[in-house]
């Protein structure tokens, strides 16, 4: 194993995978509780338009994908608040249109030797040092902003109206959260690809919800689940020679079903523990 880790491409893949899954895990707790799974799908698919635009313009697809995804995220929120369009309709329209635009851009660019499959399904083993650096910057930025506004985002996730009345800047925070999602989506492309990103944005939070009774615990658990599945999935994919992104997602899905089946037992156990601690010494 130590021989394996001395391989440069594996080191980079591991560092990038851990960073991406860490930030995805933390974000996914909010995505699950705010019921934003579908908007995650919408933003990630629209990144395809951005990637293709990068090929057309001959610039790094990372930057065009970020610009495209942030723009689509903001447009979806704008449509939700300023028009009579339902949110899921808006998402459905924007993401299909972005993917269609992506195909047109690819056609216009005349570039046929690019690794479209890699963008769609991830190719973490091909990641370069520059991409790892970009992932590190985005991860740091997103985690810092989440930490800064942690309790406010929890509050608006729980009860937006009351949060507004008590002075929380609900509207800017909604936009901020979507922009953070867009940033995370784009750097996740390297790990699992456009099609599978929504798994990283949803499943760790869903697994953590099965396992935890407190929001803070849920966030830590989700981060742990995401990082663990990524490292485990990468190792497994290397061992059995499966595609890495798909293996990670399958590990996550299996974890979800296992914890889902255990959930009633885990929760009743949690409750019993709570009752015991309340009746412990000092209580009556």
């Amino acid at each position: 194993m130590s021989d394996l880790l001395s391989l440069g491409f594996l080191q980079r893949a591991l560092v990038a995978g851990v960073l991406v899954s860490l930030v995805c895990g933390v974000l996914s707790s909010f995505v699950v509780l705010r019921r934003m799974a579908f908007i995650g799908v919408g933003i990630s698919h629209s990144a395809f338009g951005g990637v293709a635009l990068g090929f057309l313009l001959g610039v790094d697809p990372l930057f065009t994908a970020i610009a495209f995804s942030v723009l689509v995220a903001v447009l979806i929120e704008f449509a939700r608040t300023h028009t009579r369009v339902e949110e899921d309709t808006a998402i459905g329209i924007f993401f299909a249109a972005s993917m269609a635009l992506g195909l047109v851009f690819l056609h216009l660019s005349g570039v046929y030797n690019v690794d479209v499959f890699g963008f769609l399904f991830g190719n973490i083993l091909a990641i370069g040092t520059r991409q790892v650096a970009a992932i590190a910057v985005v991860t740091g930025l997103v985690l810092a902003l989440l930490l800064l506004f942690f309790k406010e985002i929890v509050f608006i996730s729980f009860d937006e109206e009351m949060a507004w009345v008590s002075g929380v800047a609900v509207k800017p925070l909604r936009y901020l959260f979507l922009v953070l999602m867009a940033l995370v989506v784009v750097v996740s492309i390297y790990l699992v690809g456009i099609i599978l990103i929504s798994a990283l944005l949803v499943i760790p939070g869903a697994v953590a919800q099965n396992l935890s009774r407190r929001f803070q615990t849920m966030v830590w658990t989700a981060a742990g689940v995401a990082v663990g599945s990524t490292v485990g999935g990468l190792a497994l994919s290397y061992g059995v020679d499966f595609p890495s992104g798909a293996t990670i997602v399958l590990v996550l899905a299996i974890l979800y079903f296992l914890t889902g089946m255990l959930r009633p037992w885990l929760r009743s156990r949690g409750r019993a523990g709570l009752e015991r601690s309340r009746r412990g010494p000092g209580a009556k």
Partner: protein, 258 residues
């Protein structure tokens, strides 16, 4: 007349071109307990949201203790609010204590954690509402009546002067409903609050309130002397299947007579 808690001048709210509230003038004195009655879709919740600043009227002015509600909330002096459905996701993994503590997030400000003073304030409200023993339970695991107490505790946690309640007894059984009405009355007396409460329960409202506002999309005015069945019927637009004893003290909103 003492200080004015809420003042609406010519307030009109419209959704998609249709007026929900039409040129309303209303003045509520500080320290009053005011019930708001009206049929479904009459604009009761809209009226509350206008007073909270959640909805900006297309016309007219709103002042709460002399200031626009949008400014009050930014200073952490917004009203205490109990929404109609405060728990949209019962599976949200958050304790009763943490829910009450949220009431102070606005005034704590971003990037800062709740301090000891905030935690004490939250615990005080829980004790005051008789649910201190539930502090560690999950919000989704306590009963409906207990949940309402939790959300009232949250509303009081920022020490508001105005408490706004939207159907606080809607999903509760009758005994618990009475408890909640009692509780709100006691809190109002003790904390010197101005209370605005929307309710379907005419009897429950009538027992404690100082004033009743009857509202319908097209707002009717009854003169100040007590209304009888006839007055309620004209507000509800249908015969009111209701027997009540005595008289409901009553104050009404400006007429819109065509």
């Amino acid at each position: 007349m003492g200080e004015t808690a809420v003042k609406l001048t010519g307030v009109t709210v419209a959704y998609g071109g249709q007026a929900v509230l039409d040129r309303i003038d209303l003045e509520i004195e500080a320290g009053k307990y005011v019930g708001i009655l009206g049929p479904n879709g009459a604009g009761k919740s809209t009226l509350l949201k206008v007073i909270l600043g959640l909805i900006t009227p297309v016309q007219g002015e709103v002042a709460v203790f002399g200031q626009p509600p949008q400014q009050l909330r930014l200073r952490g002096q917004g009203a205490g609010y109990l929404p109609q459905r405060p728990l949209s996701n019962p599976a949200f993994p958050v304790s009763v204590f943490d829910v009450v503590l949220m009431g102070r997030y606005g005034r704590i400000g971003p990037a800062r954690r709740p301090g000891r003073e905030d935690r004490q304030a939250a615990m005080l409200q829980l004790e005051r509402l008789g649910i201190g023993h539930l502090a560690g339970r999950l919000i989704g695991e306590v009963s409906g009546g207990e949940q309402q107490r939790v959300f009232i505790a949250r509303a009081l946690c920022a020490e508001p002067r105005l408490l706004v309640l939207d159907e606080p007894t809607m999903s509760l059984d009758v005994c618990v409903q009475d408890e909640v009405f009692e509780l709100i009355y006691r809190l109002k007396e003790k904390l010197d609050l101005t209370v605005l409460m929307v309710s379907h329960d005419i009897g429950g409202v009538a027992r404690h309130v100082d004033d009743v506002i009857c509202i319908n999309r097209r707002i009717h005015v009854h003169q100040a002397p007590p209304i009888g069945r006839l007055g309620l019927e004209s507000t509800f637009g249908c015969s009111v299947e209701y027997l009540f004893h005595g008289e409901i003290p009553h104050r009404v909103v400006k007429a819109q007579d065509e």
